[in-house]
């Protein structure tokens, strides 16, 4: 049996609050295999985004152990986590979070720049290829403010793939898109999964779940249901 790409063991996350500690996640045990397209669903405040932040090494669990592609995220220093994030994971945000003073092309080149990957012309070529693959190569020299929401999210996906990570995390990627654009983006993600990428997507849209191979439902910080979705 192959080793899962992601393993979560007894994960809990607690935030201190004036009214007492808030338990965002509790007793999470989960394994995600390579090539999975996992949809994490649940109501607002159920802990979906917290889970995604823990998987991406953006935040740390209060207890438990998270291993992603052989990296124990809890044991890694902040510096090591940063380095791993640069190459080991791509993250797509709900509000795109493209840097407003960089063009689409430059936004995609930026992670390669931080990871010191290849030469400058090579980074440019790869960024153009990614934009082309996501259908926004013609927007390469535009600033984000000149792009539509769908175009911005495609650029954000291209940026997440810049360093060729084995894992892509997407936080409500279709939350700010119209239905047609959302469908197109989800098809794109599904295509990436077919090419071998592992995708974990937080969503509360039922139509998005249909593109996933597996769904994990959260309620009050706990996994309440897990199911495999047939194509």
């Amino acid at each position: 049996m192959p080793t899962p790409l992601i393993t979560l063991e007894n994960i809990g996350k607690t935030y201190p609050a004036p009214a007492g500690d808030f338990h965002a996640l509790a007793d999470i045990d989960l394994a995600i295999d390579r090539g999975d397209f996992v949809a994490v669903v649940g109501a607002s405040g159920s802990g979906k985004s917290t889970l995604l932040n823990l998987l991406g090494g953006i935040d740390r669990a209060t207890r438990g152990r998270i291993v992603v592609d052989g990296h124990d995220l809890g044991a890694a220093s902040e510096r090591a986590l940063t380095a791993w994030r640069g190459r080991g994971v791509g993250i797509v945000f709900q509000f795109f979070q493209l840097l407003p003073t960089l063009t689409a092309l430059e936004n995609v080149m930026l992670p390669m720049d931080f990871a010191r990957r290849g030469t400058s012309p090579a980074r440019r070529d790869r960024a153009l290829a990614l934009l082309d693959r996501l259908g926004v190569a013609d927007q390469a020299d535009k600033l984000p403010q000149a792009l539509s929401g769908g175009q911005q999210q495609r650029v954000a996906v291209a940026r997440a793939l810049a360093n060729d990570p084995p894992l892509l995390l997407a936080d409500e990627p279709t939350g700010n898109l119209d239905s047609r654009t959302a469908q197109s983006l989800l098809e794109g993600l599904a295509g990436l999964v077919r090419d071998g990428l592992t995708v974990v997507m937080v969503t509360h849209e039922p139509r998005a779940i249909a593109y996933a191979t597996r769904s994990v439902s959260l309620a009050d910080g706990r996994i309440v249901r897990e199911e495999r979705i047939d194509a």
Binding site: I58, T82, R85, R87, F93, E106, L110
Partner: protein, 786 residues
Amino acid sequence: MLSPRWRKMLRDASLHKARTALAIVAMVVGLAGAGALLASWALVQRVTAQTFLASRPVSATLRVERVDDALLARVRDLPAIAAVRARRVVFATADANGRRTRAQVFALSDWHASGIGRLLPDEGAWPPRDGEIVLERSSLEFSGAALGGTLRLSAGGNDAVALPVAGIVRDVSLPPGWMDHVVYAFATPATLARLRVPATFDEVQFVVRDALDRDAVRRVAVAAKASIEAAGGRVTGIDVPVPGEHAHAAQMDSLALTQGAFAVLTLVVCALLVVNLVAAMLAAQTREIGVMKVLGASPGDIAALYAGFALALGVAASLVALPLAVAIARPYAAMKLDMLNFPLGDTAIPAWALALQFAAGCLLPVAAAALPVARASRMRAADALRDAGIAADGGVVRRRFALPFVGRPLRLSIGNAFRRRARMVLTVLALAAGGAVYLGAANLASGVRASVAHLFAGHRYDASLRLVDDAEAARLEAAAATVPGVAGVQALAKARGVLRHADGLDGDAFALVGLPAESPLLALSVERGRGLGATDGNALVVSRRLLKNEPLIQLDAEVELQIDGKPTRWRVVGVVDAGPQALAYAPAAALDAARGGVLASTLLVKLASSEPAAQLDTILRLRAALDGAGFAVAGSEVMRETRRVFEDHLLMVVQFLGVMAWAMIAIGGIGLASTMSLGVLERTREIGVMRAIGASDRAIMTLVQAEGLVVCALAWLASLALSMPIGYALADAFGRVMFAVPMRAWPNADGAFAWAAMLGVVSIVACAWPARRAVRMPAARALGHA
């Protein structure tokens, strides 16, 4: 090709062009000011070293009855002596085209000696030929004469002799003639004979072989004196200046130190501005920093990005400031050198000074930004992504100001001012620093004026005349009293006093003034001890500067003084403040007894008129009358003019501080403009909401302007507090070098009100652009601002 991160940095800077430009302009002002001071100091230091020390300044001067070749040879043979020459100084009156001034004519035994007091020929003939004179460069303009013209010189009460001005020479060992109101001239002994004064030399000057301290030079001088006296000569006095130091070196060093301290303060104010700019940028880009961290940017990548931005600011500011600093430094150095009587010569600023300026300019913003950048770069990605932007609402402050007389808009402005407290504190500090220096300078100016008034309070005469030769006091007073316009006269005896130290060495000569009991024209304002009484014998009242120069002289101490070469013992009974002069007062009868005659050399005159023209007319008639009565007058001084020149001289330092304060206030104002523009930017959405619920242009503009005024009011209060330590420090530094000025515990009211008015103007000007921007933003766009 630039990598995306550096392109981001450049575009961020260009996105906030106005604010970035303001920061650069502020740094240019600060760097140009500080750089000009550094460059001018470096230039002056180099010229001083090259010119003054290269002139081989005289180590000591011995006054001897008569100097001949054999005597000079004896001194030259002493092992410690490197070079020797003979000199005579003749005090005279110069007259060029009706302009009469004091003059000193120097005759030297060797005009070409390179090993001692080297003179630098400037124009025309050198050395002077018999029957001609050569003028010292710094007194040429003051004399009213010109090269090729003539100057009438009269000395020793003899008729004036017209002498052609054949050349101009520079003597860097002399203070500037224009500053001391003396015409310095060089002439041969034969020319002195034409003036009918003794043509023989009466001083021996020498340079010691090694760079020694003053006491060591004094020991060599005592050895030279012993050698001269062993050969039958008689030495009446020894002068030993501080080795290697120009007459005005202490003042210039103090000026440089004060300037340096304020240059550093100006740079600190610039740094505060950079901290504000970079901190605001980091605050606005916290989420972007979070995103970059998610994309794999290490703390070093983030730090390098923003430190690079700060470095770029520094480089841009330095590239503009450096040529500006050089352009200011050259004329400023020339002015300082003129005050030292040095030629400017080579105007190239030393390379090290330029390199230091450039490095300091580039690194200053990086150092200033280091803390906020380090903090931002260490922020965890999750915290950065959760950042909610401007959070502190200043509510607590606003509620505290919920008083009946404080309206809601003003309360809102007060609250807004406190929303970014760290930024507000830095802005207040930058403005307050400039204000504190302004108030400190104003305090020092009033302190200097008060001290000068105190100094001259006991001078109840309008003019003083100095005689060429000592004269009988009663006859002199009688001759002067008959001149119409003269309301009162007082003849004073003046002698040179020298303190004999326990080791047998002599101290520096100082003026000893014989003061008649209950003089109607000169009253001493005694600070410690007591004044001179009618029954006093050998009692002395000494000036504070003399007390400082000679530690042996203490209140109630008994000291041995050499007066005209004769030893006498005196008791110190009081201390007076005589400004920067080292002098002592003694009862006239006791000084007469010590000198062996009732002789006066100075006449104090009270004039009937207080009109300048009438006073001048009376003085001219008095001089003519005294000349006619056989009392040759070497020079005269109008006290009002003397006081003005003295005060101006002292206030030069204060004026410089004023210029520094203006530069700092300008930088502080730019800081306020930058802070206000950031505040408006950050509250764009709030402004949109206010517009949406009906706030008028005027209401929005008032809100911004009132916030600026709140910051300025705080800066005013802070500057009042800061001005106290700065005022004390300034008064203390001034007192150490110049003379004591009263230290004020509280800024003077005029200065404080003027500063408040200035702050009002600064606030209105600084807030004008941000207020306009707030008003011109459409509500819909403002509401859509992220």
